[in-house]
């Protein structure tokens, strides 16, 4: 197991050019079932990115606001440790009996929501409903960030993920302004991205380095309740396809025409 992983990592680093890797099915156990299925050991070189088109589902009726996803993301992707530069975060919605809506995301959700000072302000409110909404890059089908990049340093891969070429990003921050979801940030001085760059735009990649090797994104792996589901739209067995078949889903800010590929189950009006 060890050896084979090392081999394909090495192979991946050595082979440039063809992103022509695998075609075997992405068999992620739907989080709510089990994590027992061994992900297929897939070699980067055999990966064929035209055979996949990824999508993500978030079940807000399951999220418990533990923040494990945010922590896992930061560890997996060397995201700056502070909450103000984050690839993913968890929002809490509190809706009163009079349908007044409060939103917050203390520490971007990475500490969870159990600390007493995080709950003080809701004491004495007549709460009708409350839930958590995990957020991440929507990997839009019509990405405004890609549209506005002046130097073609951000682009969509054929399997549907928006990446930033941090070797070429000039740090103009236009993409950060253009993202309606606040999913991007500029890597601050002193922090470096996994690729080794600072002062460039960074964002969620759906753990591209994991998914092309058959592993789920780190946040999905970390979610203890199956609120985050990753899958492949080209695979009829994919858990995402299953969810889209059986649930009413919604995307964020559909009126902006960005066509997000993160689908939300159980979204309430007022979720921003």
């Amino acid at each position: 197991m060890n050896l084979s992983r090392r081999q394909f990592l090495k192979g991946g680093a050595a082979t440039l050019g063809g992103v022509a890797l695998l075609s075997s099915p992405m068999a992620y156990a739907l989080r709510n079932s089990t994590k027992t299925e061994a992900p297929p050991e897939t070699k980067l070189e055999q990966y064929d990115w035209e055979k996949h088109y990824y999508a993500f589902a978030v079940d807000t009726t399951k999220c418990i606001g533990c923040g494990k996803c945010v922590v896992a993301c930061k560890l997996e992707n060397k995201v700056p440790p502070d909450p103000e530069h984050t690839r993913t975060w968890v929002e809490r919605y509190v809706i009163t009996e009079e349908q007044e809506i409060f939103v917050d995301s203390p520490e971007a959700g990475m500490e969870g929501f159990v600390q007493p000072q995080m709950n003080l302000k809701y004491q004495g409110l007549a709460i009708s409903e409350s839930f958590f909404v995990p957020k991440l890059c929507n990997q839009c089908e019509k990405p405004p960030c890609v549209q506005v990049c002046p130097v073609a340093a951000t682009y969509a891969t054929k399997d549907g993920v928006i990446l930033v070429d941090q070797k070429r990003c000039i740090g103009c921050r236009y993409c950060i302004q253009a993202c309606p979801y606040g999913a991007r940030y500029l890597v601050p001085d002193g922090d470096v991205t996994p690729n080794g760059y600072s002062r460039v735009a960074d964002k969620c990649t759906w753990c591209y380095h994991r998914v092309v090797k058959g592993h789920p994104p780190a946040c999905v792996e970390a979610c203890p309740v199956g609120a985050r589901v990753f899958g492949d739209m080209r695979d009829p067995q994919s858990p995402v396809r299953e969810i889209l078949r059986h649930s009413r889903v919604y995307t964020l800010k559909p009126s902006l025409g960005t066509k997000p590929k993160v689908f939300y189950i159980g979204l309430h009006f007022g979720v921003v």
């Binding site: 909450p83 917050d104 002046p150 070429r168 236009y174």
Partner: protein
């Protein structure tokens, strides 16, 4: 919705003071260039005293315009990529080319307009200076009737081409903001128009200020007719500019879409001083009323020019506030539309107030240097050297 939420990544203000200066400085370029074109294309003779000066002013500010952008980049050394692999679906990608095109155009026109002077300096100077002017003349000292006639035709063509280019340069800056659908304070088809009009307004105001100051420094009489003409154009453009700026906010208010709740908080809380008081009041309506009043009652020409000078200065401040309100204002609320954000520029540091102030002073320093090399007020034509002002005296009225 209870205001108070922002996406975590939004707590850092992305575009700061230098990005406020950038549209301000390009705006001054566009406006100053329009003034020179009014003379060279539309033959508005009253503007002759500032015709050459406005070209030099446009050039000085144009040279500085990309610097603030460049220094704001996370990776300034990669700035050249905007020329190497421009991604033309981006509203920003064309900036480099449009700026370069415009620079070539302004340089060419300035060169043709000053060619007689340059050749004259080649003949009247010695040593290093002579070499410098010879290089500027590209080693050609021919001032035949026909060559000057060709130059004049070319100047007219370039000046005419410069008007749409100026509009393009600055309308384009407006589009950079106006095309961001994620931001309701920016996203508007009126944005390019508003940027263009305010650019012209600020450029004319700048020339009034520079012209009056230079005249005082040179202890030369001010050509009041010239100032009056500039004020007329200034007031005209300002009225249209204000109309569009008002239209923008009024239509937002009237339609009251989901974004209005937070925008109204933005205007009344975060931008109360800089938008309502400085941009609209002190920087637009007040000077407009004062300028119109000063030109409808009988006043001594000197008094009227003094008032025009003051009004122009206020308008310059108002347009600077407008740039702040657009650039910073658009980042003072969350794109979740659920909360306001804050930004206070630091005094020191790379994007601090002092650094920004020096970037506003830089074009003035360049301007002084250019005035030294090519004094626009000196018509150094052999045989008929005369201060431009003399011919204008009889056109004074009032």
């Amino acid at each position: 919705m209870n205001p108070g939420f922002a996406y975590p990544n939004e707590l850092e203000t992305q575009w700061t003071l230098f990005i406020v200066l950038y549209p301000y400085i390009t705006g001054l370029v566009a406006g100053a260039f329009i003034v020179s074109s009014l003379y060279h294309v539309f033959d508005i003779k009253a503007l002759k005293p500032v015709a050459r000066m406005s070209l030099i002013t446009a050039l000085a500010f144009l040279l500085v315009a990309p610097l603030t952008l460049l220094l704001h980049l996370g990776q300034p050394l990669r700035g050249i990529y905007i020329f190497i692999t421009p991604q033309f679906r981006s509203a920003m990608a064309g900036f480099g080319f449009i700026w370069m095109f415009y620079l070539i155009l302004v340089l060419a026109e300035t060169w043709l307009v000053f060619r007689r002077d340059i050749v004259a300096y080649v003949k009247s100077t010695q040593g290093i200076k002579k070499a410098f002017y010879s290089a500027l003349a590209l080693g050609v000292y021919d001032l035949s009737e026909r060559s000057l006639y060709i130059d004049k035709k070319l100047i007219k063509i370039l000046a005419a081409a410069g008007i749409p280019s100026a509009a393009l340069l600055h309308g384009y800056v407006g589009f950079i903001f106006g095309a961001i659908k994620a931001n309701p304070w920016w996203s508007s088809p009126l944005m390019p128009l508003i940027f263009l009009l305010s650019a012209i307004v600020s450029g004319i105001a700048l020339l009034i200020v520079i012209y009056v100051v230079i005249s005082k420094i040179r202890k030369q009489p001010v050509d009041h007719a010239c100032v009056d003409t500039m004020v007329q154009w200034l007031a005209g453009f300002l009225v249209v500019d204000l109309a569009f700026e008002g239209l923008e906010v009024i239509s937002m208010l009237y339609e009251s879409e989901d974004s209005w709740e937070i925008i109204s908080l933005l205007i009344t809380q975060k931008l109360r001083v800089s938008f309502l008081m400085v941009q609209l009041g002190f920087g637009s309506l007040l000077p407009l009323i004062v300028l119109l009043a000063a030109h409808s009652v009988r006043l001594r020409a000197g008094t009227r020019t003094a008032i025009s000078f003051g009004g122009a200065f206020m308008i310059l401040m108002g347009v600077l506030a407008m740039r702040w309100n657009v650039v910073i204002g658009g980042q003072l609320f969350s794109k979740s539309l659920a909360g306001l954000l804050s930004y206070t520029p630091p005094l020191m540091g790379q994007e601090g107030v002092l650094a920004a102030a020096s970037f506003l002073a830089l074009p003035l320093a360049i301007l002084a240097a250019l005035f030294y090399v090519l004094p626009p007020w000196k018509e150094v034509v052999e045989g008929e050297a005369q201060p431009a002002i003399a011919a204008r005296q009889r056109r004074r009225f009032g």
